[in-house]
Symmetry: C2
Subunit: 284 residues, 2 copies
Amino acid sequence: MYDCIIVGSSVAGISAAINLKIRKKDFLLLGNKDFSPKVQKAELIQNYVGMPDISGCELSGALKEHLEKMKIEITEARVNSIMSLGDYFMLSAGSDVYESKTIILATGVEFSKKIEGEDTFLGRGVSYCATCDGMFYRGKTIAVVGSSKEAEKELWYLAELANTVYYFPLYKAEETAVKQENITIVSERPVKLSGKERVTEIEDKTGKIWNIDGVFFLKDALAPSALLNGLENDGMHIVVDRNMRTNIPGCFACGDCTGRPYQYMKAAGEGNIAAHSVVDFLTN
Amino acid sequence: MYDCIIVGSSVAGISAAINLKIRKKDFLLLGNKDFSPKVQKAELIQNYVGMPDISGCELSGALKEHLEKMKIEITEARVNSIMSLGDYFMLSAGSDVYESKTIILATGVEFSKKIEGEDTFLGRGVSYCATCDGMFYRGKTIAVVGSSKEAEKELWYLAELANTVYYFPLYKAEETAVKQENITIVSERPVKLSGKERVTEIEDKTGKIWNIDGVFFLKDALAPSALLNGLENDGMHIVVDRNMRTNIPGCFACGDCTGRPYQYMKAAGEGNIAAHSVVDFLTN
């Protein structure tokens, strides 16, 4: 049983981890070893106080150095779901299950809008988690909508199970890198899902219809409501108070997932606060 | 008329200034060119994300470099009071008066507790502002309670006016540096004020009583309630929402003055948010 599991390894999650380490807590930092693609891609950051005019790459380097110095490891895993069990939490990531007294959500924010029908068919052919639901589509025909290159690993996992995969990359995908025998790359944006009981069709921007048995949306950040049942949110962001507490006792949030401004400095500050709140929570 | 005046030049105020500069706002950053004494004194900071294991001196150097690179100047002035005039603010600092559409308070937090009678005699012999009230004590006997070395400049100003000054330093004062003909250094802590209509006595820890006409408390951070009338506070901290808004429209706050944890990272994050809120406020 961990003291805390931090979900997300961008600036907010890292700030929380550094503070939990200083306070000698037993925690797990789940995320991507390359941090967030958003940090990597930033061209010039002018307002990271004390580090004028740094690039996203340089900031990533500084984060990496800080983590190494403090001997903090990032565990690479995509979180499928979290359950609050009153006194503690159960978290499933990949094929593992972890237990923790507290949770810090630093999941970022997803900019891609939902498409028509996405909410309607959630759980009826619409999934956000390849490892959770992939096996239901063995030998079937599916669509996969990938928000970024990060989605490709899961795409290949799904392609091993499904018979036919229509891949809708929402980014500039390298065709040669992605392509496999049963993957068809569709370069038009998907706009609509339809069906009766379950989703059966996905329509692209040109009006072309692709028949499917299911569709996976592989987003950079999971909608918080999809991650943890009953978590209060305003549609796009997790609702927190000034101590970074969510409505679920023991569950805290920080960074872009709590709202604007989407800024590294804000994320770092909120991660710090969230860690302090976790320490207070564990003491009481 | 400025777009914004930032009161306080520690990490929170600097973070706000950097963001207002990027957003091309016309602002004034009031404070101390050496930043806060607290930053300078910090021995080792482990949790400033991206800058592992830096000293307070090194952080100060990084702040200075950042300000220079962005051509942001600190105006050295001690703020006496701020008045909200509905559409804008008037701020008096030293002998100058400034006008601004918005205010960001980044005044830090004062750790020295109030002494018995301090509240009772406020305005009846108790003052927090040498330049505002000094002239009332020409030729009189006063006590001066200084929270840190920063108070000494004002002590000397008061010693020019008053006949006799009892100086109670709450820090390790260098006697030779402070001493002037009419200044008596009292090394015992002051504990109590008494009098009838006005304060007439200050008692030190040993029970010794010093007869006075008035007393100046020169603190590192002014109590926010003393700075701006009607500002909602919980006794020690300014009450803000998640956007760093206070209860007074156009007045924002960030950093230690808004509450715990007292952390550079939190201060930097909140300064960033406050600046973004100012930009939003000016747009609407």
